[in-house]
């Protein structure tokens, strides 16, 4: 659902720590932070260790592992979350392929006590902003 929206258009940028881009909820409604079950990121075919990714939600940065207990904080459906990807050097100028899969638990679709987890994969090539030539 809303698969093509996972990576926000034109959001890839070079930051001192490496790269950053925006992700959106691939669902029609807001969900609590605790429903983010995973995020897989590869840049130019290089898989990034998910344990190193940081997500900015509601003005605060979190490691993915810190989101699980936060069932009372809400990721509003119209808001983007900035994802920071640590790289050895800031992202180089030019086009880069982002391959992103977000895993969201859908908290009201539960069969035999097992909730549905949607995994939406979005691949986009974007030109990095703020990258030095």
């Amino acid at each position: 659902m809303l698969t093509d929206q996972v990576v926000a258009d034109g959001s890839l940028r070079s930051v001192p720590a490496g790269a950053a881009f925006d992700v959106r909820i691939p669902w029609y409604r807001s969900l609590p932070y605790s429903c983010v079950e995973g995020l897989d990121v590869a840049i130019d075919g290089r898989r990034i260790d998910s344990g190193l990714l940081r997500m900015e939600l509601g003005g605060e940065e979190y490691l993915l592992s810190e989101l699980a207990p936060l069932h009372d904080r809400w990721w509003y459906v119209a808001d983007a979350a900035a994802v920071t990807v640590p790289l050895a050097e800031p992202l180089a100028a030019g086009a880069h392929e982002l391959d992103v899969t977000i895993h969201m638990r859908i908290p009201y679709i539960v069969e035999s006590d097992v909730p549905l987890v949607m995994r939406e994969r979005c691949v986009k090539t974007q030109t990095a902003q703020g990258a030095s030539l």
């Binding site: 029609y28 429903c35 069932h71 809400w74 459906v77 859908i106 908290p107 679709i109 069969e111 909730p115």
Partner: protein
């Protein structure tokens, strides 16, 4: 007491792609829907249209009521969610789920909604406990019969029995047109064809889907079967989405089944996938469904819900709702004449 004919309504859920992409905010959606004459009823999903739902600031409450008044809309239904799996470590307890839904009911009342769409995953014990609050707030709760559920599903039968004993008008059903479909939407196959999914998979899906007509089945088992089938034909990343769509929004019920619960229909979602330029929706028998509701003596809202946006990135949501409402209105006008 005579019951009038049903009235048209629209749920802003139909415009999810426009809202999600930021092309229209809540106020703009309401204005556009009013301009296109989609009322008199308006429905929203609480967790979509309202930031921090179900907490409402007095400012938002005033703003929302003023917005609907200004555009001539009547609040029809607030969609609530029974998020049993809110926590990552365990399911919510019945007490927690009660509180979670009670807060949403109170929000419905504050915003002037006469009805709340509920979800069966809350369970009958929790729904029963909510009845006194619903009575006090005078918000009628309609638990949604959504594909693949039908009026014969286990939880529906249990709630019907409860109704036979208690007769409360505050706990009934929301009927979803998607629980009664003729076939998987051709526009869904078209979308996955464009993504390169093999043609043979579509006939295999159709065949498997029709094999379930008139059968009782477990949704999660069928979901598993469809996913497996999709993988056999190399659907890859699309396997889960295609299966969720096939099983989870294309139901096998028949409209006449609704006559069995005619005194318990609180609200109606007129779900549909695509109405073409000739006014034809090949999957959802909209006219027959509306006629059945009239025959059932239903006098509430029929709320247009365009769901084709999951896969159809080309159609205009506003045009789609207008086309469906033309079908609905033609049946209502014929009945009034």
């Amino acid at each position: 007491m005579t019951v009038g004919l049903p009235q048209t309504a629209v749920t802003l859920y139909s415009f999810t792609p426009d809202f999600h992409a930021g092309r229209h905010d809540l106020d703009q959606l309401v204005a556009r829907a009013a301009e296109l004459g989609m009322g008199p009823g308006l429905e929203i999903v609480g967790f979509q249209s309202i930031r921090d739902f179900p907490n409402l600031t007095p400012e938002f409450e005033r703003h929302f009521r003023g917005l609907l008044d200004r555009h001539g809309f009547e609040p029809a239904c607030l969609d609530c969610n029974a998020d049993r799996a809110l926590r990552s470590d365990r399911m919510l307890s019945e007490d927690e789920l009660y509180e979670y839904l009670a807060a949403q009911l109170r929000a419905a009342h504050r915003l002037g909604f006469p009805a709340a769409r509920m979800q069966w995953t809350a369970g009958l014990p929790v729904m029963e406990r909510l009845v006194p609050l619903a009575e006090q707030l005078d918000v009628r709760m309609g638990v949604e019969i959504h594909a693949p559920e039908t009026v014969d599903s286990g939880w529906v039968l249990a709630q019907r029995e409860w109704h036979a004993k208690h007769q409360s008008p505050h706990l009934g059903f929301t009927i979803d047109f998607g629980s009664v479909t003729n076939q998987i939407s051709p526009t869904m196959f078209q979308a996955f064809r464009e993504k390169g999914v093999a043609e043979e998979l579509f006939s295999a899906f159709s065949e498997r889907w029709h094999a379930l007509d008139g059968q009782r089945f477990e949704a999660h088992e069928q979901m598993g079967n469809f996913i497996q089938l999709a993988h056999q034909y190399g659907a890859g990343d699309h396997a889960i989405n295609m299966s969720v769509f096939a099983v989870g929004i294309h139901g096998h019920g028949r409209p006449r089944m609704w006559l069995e619960i005619s005194d318990q229909i609180v609200h109606v979602h007129a779900k549909f996938f695509h109405v073409d330029e000739h006014g034809v929706e090949p999957s959802v028998p909209v006219a027959e469904q509306v006629q059945t509701l009239i025959d059932a003596g239903y006098g509430g809202y029929i709320s247009s819900e365009w769901e084709g946006w999951h896969w159809d990135l080309h159609s205009d949501a506003f045009e789609q709702v207008q086309r469906e409402q033309r079908i609905i209105r033609s049946v209502l006008e014929a009945a009034a004449a």
